[in-house]
Amino acid sequence: MQAWHFSETAYPYLPPQDSYPSIRVSLPNKHYDPRKGAELWDRYLKEWQIAEEEGMDIMLNEHHQTATCVDPAAPLVLAALARLTTKARLLILGNPIANRRQPIRVAEEMAMVDVLSRGRVEAGFVRGVPYEISPANSNPVRMNERFLEALDLIVKAWTNHDGPFSHEGRFFHHRNINIWPRQWQDPHPPVWVSTTSSGGARQVGERGFIQATFLTGYQATRRVFDAYREGWRAAGRGKYVANDRLAYAALVYVGETEAEAHAGAEKLLWYVTANKVAPQYANPPGYVPVEANVHMLRGAEHPLSAFAKAANVEAAIRAGLMFAGTPDQVFNQIKRHYEYVGGYGHLLNMGQAGFLEHEESVKGIRMFAREVYPRLKEMFPKTAISGQYGDVPPEPPEESVLKSSSRGIDLTRDGPLATALGAGS
């Protein structure tokens, strides 16, 4: 198991949540103080450096027009990290290439950082969440088709070393593709794709790229990973899929005591609770298939949206969205999840969010890296074969669940989180 420290690099100092309709797309940037923002960036970069010191690898991502992730140009931060670190792998997950007009530029950026970091780039690609459509003015229809054409073109641009070639595709046109520099890694950086749908995962499996899924809990993760393995086999890549092809992202916080873990874990829930998105940004036409929209018109709700309405640490742990507690508890939560979904080689630790302060974040990183990570590496080597289900229920062992009674400080009443969410007003 390989673990990656991930922060969405949020700007949490916002007015009460009920004073704005959406934290995404339309929240005016007058609420962003660049001085406070610069201080945040100092500490977020520092936390990644500390994660590297602790033997973890690094993951970052990109969003636009939002306070939840103030990194609209992730390759820039990736370049900074290339020079601030020396040994950690640098995962960008990812480049929203269905919203990029020029995939070749993305191939160039990744190659550039791969050289700057002497071959430490892990190049991730995402279709992009629905609220990225408006900032990019991108057509929400046929995103998957654009995504796949762009991805194949990027890989081709990386692997061509004999002068210009042309691409006249459905969505992209280039007559002279010949990127400089060429990337350090040969044939190219590992390619990651994130998707939370079975159809998407199958396509990733067919291509053999690394598949990441975010906050999909027990059942949905198993479905996504199953689909990946199906695609892998259907494309003739072999009977077995190694663990290192699959990644799971969860909220992770490890404390010395249950109370300390609970306090940190509760702050991590900001990821879910702060994501107030106006409906018109959350579901642009064509983003999800027609049948899915019919279900929604009939009242079906996305599991994460339903969860966000009554988010709490215990429920998040039971659902497999969060691994939090003492080292033993967290190890057992991850072990159960791993066994239920059939195994994965990468854990993407969403280990910092919202008002989780620097010291608390560092404490969580160190506790995980020192007390949990070595056991995960030993028990789940990356050479293990995925798809071997344990005969286990889709929930963590009862004694490993961090209960609400183990809560340290009651942040729902008068803490900074409650203030930010407008809960006190």
């Binding site: 797309v25 057509n139 046929r142 459905r170 106006a278 018109q280 036409p285 027609v290 018109l297 009939r298």
Partner: protein, 257 residues
């Protein structure tokens, strides 16, 4: 109405037809075509009314290569050939008006009288202001308010609609997005081509239309020589639905003149 299907460039196009007489081609708005709408019976008298569903709408297919209103215009010019219609009068509502304008700029001689009902398709205002409000980033509850004079008469109860009708509604909206997303609701070239239309042209607009403004329609009309504008009271963006009789009266008077 009689329904048939004609495959053009690999794409099945659904066509509803009624009546006999001189042809009248009707191009539906973004909400799609409904054969039981009242206005259809009021304009059909003595005419052969031909109502195709645009690619991606209703029962029509959608080919991978299609992504512009211009594509639809080409499909419909071929549809006229296939139906043996050398020349026809033309009515287009909203995006249907845009398609009609694209068709008429290509082959004006194949059209008689043209009625544009709250058409979109051109950009005449400043760069920092949308000519047509962005219906895709408006809170969903706001959209009916700009669409209708009296939105209370057009409330859909999804729980009472069959899955098939819901799926068509969702797909129509998806296809609308595909065709109008960027540039938003217009083809930058179209306004430079409208001069080709010297046919008799009527522009119709509901007085309460919050999508196609009076100024927008005036600018559109100014680009089509000899055209005139009529306004239908107590109607929004779809006067054919909100005031079917007044709509039919205006159309019939224009066609009879």
């Amino acid at each position: 109405m009689k329904r048939s299907e004609i495959t053009i460039a690999g794409c099945p196009i659904e066509v509803h037809e009624a009546g006999e007489g001189a042809p009248l081609l009707f191009l539906h708005p973004g909400g799609g075509f409904k054969a039981d709408d009242a206005y259809l019976g009021l304009i059909v008298k003595g005419r052969r009314l031909i109502c195709p569903s645009h690619p991606g709408f209703g029962g029509s297919g959608l080919s991978d290569w299609m992504d512009s209103v211009d594509d639809i215009a080409h499909i419909y010019l071929e549809l006229m050939d296939r139906l043996g219609i050398a020349k026809t009068d033309l009515i287009g509502c909203s995006i249907g008006g845009w398609i009609a304008a694209e068709m008429a700029t290509k082959t004006p001689e194949r059209f008689g009288k043209i009625t544009f009902v709250a058409p979109v398709g051109i950009k005449t205002g400043p760069a920092d202001q949308l000519d047509i409000p962005d219906i895709f980033v408006m809170p969903p509850a706001e959209v009916p308010k700009i669409m209708f004079h009296d939105p209370s008469k057009f409330v859909s109860d999804f729980s009472k609609m069959p899955d098939e009708a819901l799926a068509t509604m969702v797909r129509n909206r998806e296809s609308l997005a595909l065709f109008v997303w960027e540039p938003y609701m217009h083809n930058p070239k179209l306004k430079h081509r409208l001069q080709r239309i010297t046919n008799p042209v009527l522009f119709l607009r509901g007085a309460s239309d919050g999508l196609v403004s009076a100024n927008y329609l005036a600018a559109y009309s100014a680009l089509v020589g000899g055209s005139r504008i009529e306004t239908i009271p107590e109607a929004g963006h779809a006067p054919q639905l909100e005031q079917p009789q007044a709509f039919a009266d205006a159309v019939n008077a224009f066609l009879a003149a």
